[in-house]
């Protein structure tokens, strides 16, 4: 157990190092610096700015200096937000993405597990085909189609939730996080439903379930007490990738609903060539994904004794 945790945390180091090195050299290779767009500054000003941000040093010095700063968890100043450091931008934007992501995650699990279980228990009946057809539809209708449709119906027609923006929107019954979260959650619930159905079917065909039936355990107890633990294993191992998906999915829904979350900041930083902010968000995402994979592994260990060996 502890070995696995330590091993995973050690894995964090090469992952983050690869990420950093990749992003660092990729972004240095590209034409156009952070100060070459929009207002054209005089050469002296650009020189001073470059000196201030350390962009005039040789590349390897910038690289080493940057790694040193990262170790101290200091991502440096942001180019495009002169008054904020990268740490401040992340701290400001991430809670917004986290709220949307968490709600979406809960929705995806609740809807997906319920639908998948119903389908597995009623295999090859209408109650199997209907939820699975809906799940397939959910996978094939991407978030950037679902988002505008939901915005049109619930936002503009029914006036239940705001369709754009984040701050100061209290004229509708629901807060602005609801629509993006539903959009994201529905998409991932489709995957969860398919995984749940597959996992549950595997378990429900096993001998111990037949034994439970034979000794007269009521159907709902068989499902809830005996089958769920094994049947949800595929879902648990999907949690890590799902979280990564929620993060990248947030790029899309945050654009659709114009939410100032971390996804928007990342896309903006990439377009603005705001190097410190690019590095900061990428490292942050990488660390989050590794941590979530760890959590998903630990959950799996707890639920499946076979993997403990």
């Amino acid at each position: 157990m502890i070995k696995i945790i330590v091993g995973r945390l050690l894995q964090l180091i090469p992952v983050l190092w690869i990420l950093l090195t990749l992003t660092f050299f990729l972004s240095k290779e590209t034409p156009g610096g952070p100060f070459s767009q929009e207002r054209q500054a005089s050469p002296e000003v650009i020189q001073k700015l470059n000196a201030y941000y350390g962009l005039d040093k040789p590349l390897w010095q910038q690289y080493v200096g940057y790694l040193q700063k990262i170790v101290r968890l200091d991502f440096g100043p942001s180019y495009s937000y002169p008054t904020e450091s990268v740490n401040e931008v992340i701290l400001r934007a991430f809670p917004i993405s986290l709220q949307i992501g968490t709600l979406a995650f809960v929705l995806a699990l609740a809807i997906g597990v319920t639908a998948g279980t119903i389908a597995a228990v009623n295999q090859n009946t209408v109650w199997d085909y209907l939820p699975m057809a809906l799940a397939m539809a959910g996978i094939c209708v991407p978030t950037f189609v679902m988002g505008p449709i939901l915005a049109l119906v619930f936002g503009l027609k029914l006036n239940l939730a705001p369709v754009s923006g984040w701050y100061g929107l209290d004229y509708t019954p629901l807060p602005p996080m609801v629509m993006p979260a539903i959009t994201l959650g529905l998409f991932y619930s489709a995957y969860v439903a398919r995984l749940t159905r597959g996992g549950m079917l595997d378990v429900l065909n096993q001998d111990f379930i037949r034994t439970a039936k034979a000794k007269g355990v009521p159907g709902h107890q068989i499902v809830l007490k005996h089958a769920v633990r094994g049947g949800l294993l595929p879902v648990v191992s999907f949690l890590g990738p799902a979280f990564a998906g929620l993060i990248t999915g947030s790029f899309v829904v945050e654009k659709v609903f114009n939410v100032p979350g971390l996804g928007q900041e990342f896309i903006k930083s990439v377009f603005n060539r705001d190097y410190p902010l690019i590095f900061g968000t990428v490292v942050f995402y990488g660390a989050l994904i590794v941590l979530f994979n760890l959590v998903s592994d630990l959950l799996q260990l707890g639920m499946d004794p076979r993997t403990r060996r």
Binding site: I18, S27, C140, P142, V145, P148, G198, L201, T248, V252
Partner: protein, 359 residues
């Protein structure tokens, strides 16, 4: 002749043909109506996307600004104005916008004129002549007056091409990597699979976005970048299968015949894994198309005026209130194609790998 001979042959002498994996799989796939439908629809989609743009009569990049955002099947009215110096000016207008031409007239009169033109009658006022034309835009036009049908078909070409090419890249890398790791085994296997583990933990959409921005919106790069991030699962699947196969007798036989390692690997082992590769590749294509669409949606896809389904959906989503067909039409093409590919992939998995069949 030959059929007559075989039917008259005595049943005792008939050789019993074993079913190969492929004919067996095809037999099972044929019974799966949804998968067959998926295959048919997908082939149909490829055909219309490849051939369609030649027969629509419009080019995907040609704009016709006076005809902007006209709904599907709207009548085109040709407006011919003879100027005082004898010059003739012609432009196309959409029937649904024709009333804007007569804003100085009272409403009922405007309606009457529009109704007349809708009936196919001509209308002349002063030196301006209106005449309904036979040409139509089947799916209407976008905000720049470009024919949506042509753009959807061209966009389909791009999306499908990205889907296929990136999947091919991912299959090539994944199969080579996984097969090498599984076949050689030992230390090399450990190292190669550790690398895959580490790469798994990277936020790949983030990296593709970085690549697209850093190297410009290059078409080839789009294939390679997406393909390079999708090979990991393929490598894992192939490695697992190779390991379980390499201790079987036919490999021992090949070794004792003195065949070289690479020959055993690629001539004897990889073909045995082909079914898994095909199944997973079929399921990779929709994932790749989805990723391409996400990139296009974020403004990182193919450069304008070229279109892809993601680009069109992005344009349509921003105009959903005023011209909803700009979203509905490309979105349905995209979703139906994903549907058919997923059904086909599921069906192929059940057909090629009976053990994994659900029921």
């Amino acid at each position: 002749m030959s059929t007559a001979l075989t039917t008259t042959a005595a049943p005792e002498t008939e050789i019993i043909h074993g079913f190969s994996l492929w004919s067996d799989a095809w037999f099972r796939l044929k019974k799966n109506k949804l998968a067959l439908f998926g295959l048919g629809f997908f082939l149909f989609m490829i055909c219309i996307c490849v051939l369609g743009p030649f027969v629509t009569g419009y080019r995907y990049e040609d704009t016709d600004l006076p005809l902007k955002a006209s709904p599907p099947l709207d009548k085109i009215i040709s407006r011919v104005e003879t100027l005082k110096n004898g010059e003739v000016k012609q432009k196309n207008l959409a029937l649904s916008n024709i009333e804007d031409e007569f804003l100085e007239l009272p409403r009922p009169e405007r309606k009457a004129i529009a109704a007349k033109l809708a009936n196919g009658e001509q209308y002349t006022t002063g030196n301006i002549h209106y005449e309904p034309s036979n040409r139509r835009h089947f799916f209407g036009t976008d905000a720049l007056g470009r024919d949506l049908l042509t753009r959807v078909l061209i966009g389909g070409r791009i999306s499908l091409a990205v889907g296929f090419a990136a999947t091919l890249v991912s299959v090539l890398i994944g199969v080579t990597w996984g097969a090498a790791a599984g076949f050689v085994g030992g230390k090399l296997d450990d190292v190669m699979m550790r690398i895959v583990d580490i790469l798994y933990a990277l936020p790949f959409t983030v990296i593709v976005i970085l690549l697209m921005v850093m190297f410009g919106r290059n078409f080839i790069l789009l294939f390679v970048a997406i393909g390079a991030v999708e090979w990991l699962t393929m490598a894992r699947i192939v490695r697992g299968q190779i390991i379980s196969l390499k201790h079987q007798e036919f490999v021992d036989a090949a070794v004792s015949l003195g065949l070289s390692g690479p020959r055993i690997l690629f001539r004897h082992l990889v073909p045995n894994v082909a079914s898994s590769i095909i199944v997973y590749a079929t399921l990779t294509v929709p994932n790749v198309m989805l990723l391409e669409a996400v990139l296009s949606f974020l403004g990182l896809g193919v450069p304008p005026p070229l279109s892809s389904w993601g680009v069109l959906i992005n344009e349509g989503a921003s105009a959903i209130q005023t011209s909803p067909w700009l979203l509905w039409i490309p979105a349905s093409f995209f979703s139906l194609t994903l549907f058919s590919l997923n059904f086909l992939g599921d069906g192929l998995r059940d057909a090629l790998d009976p053990k994994s069949a659900k029921d």
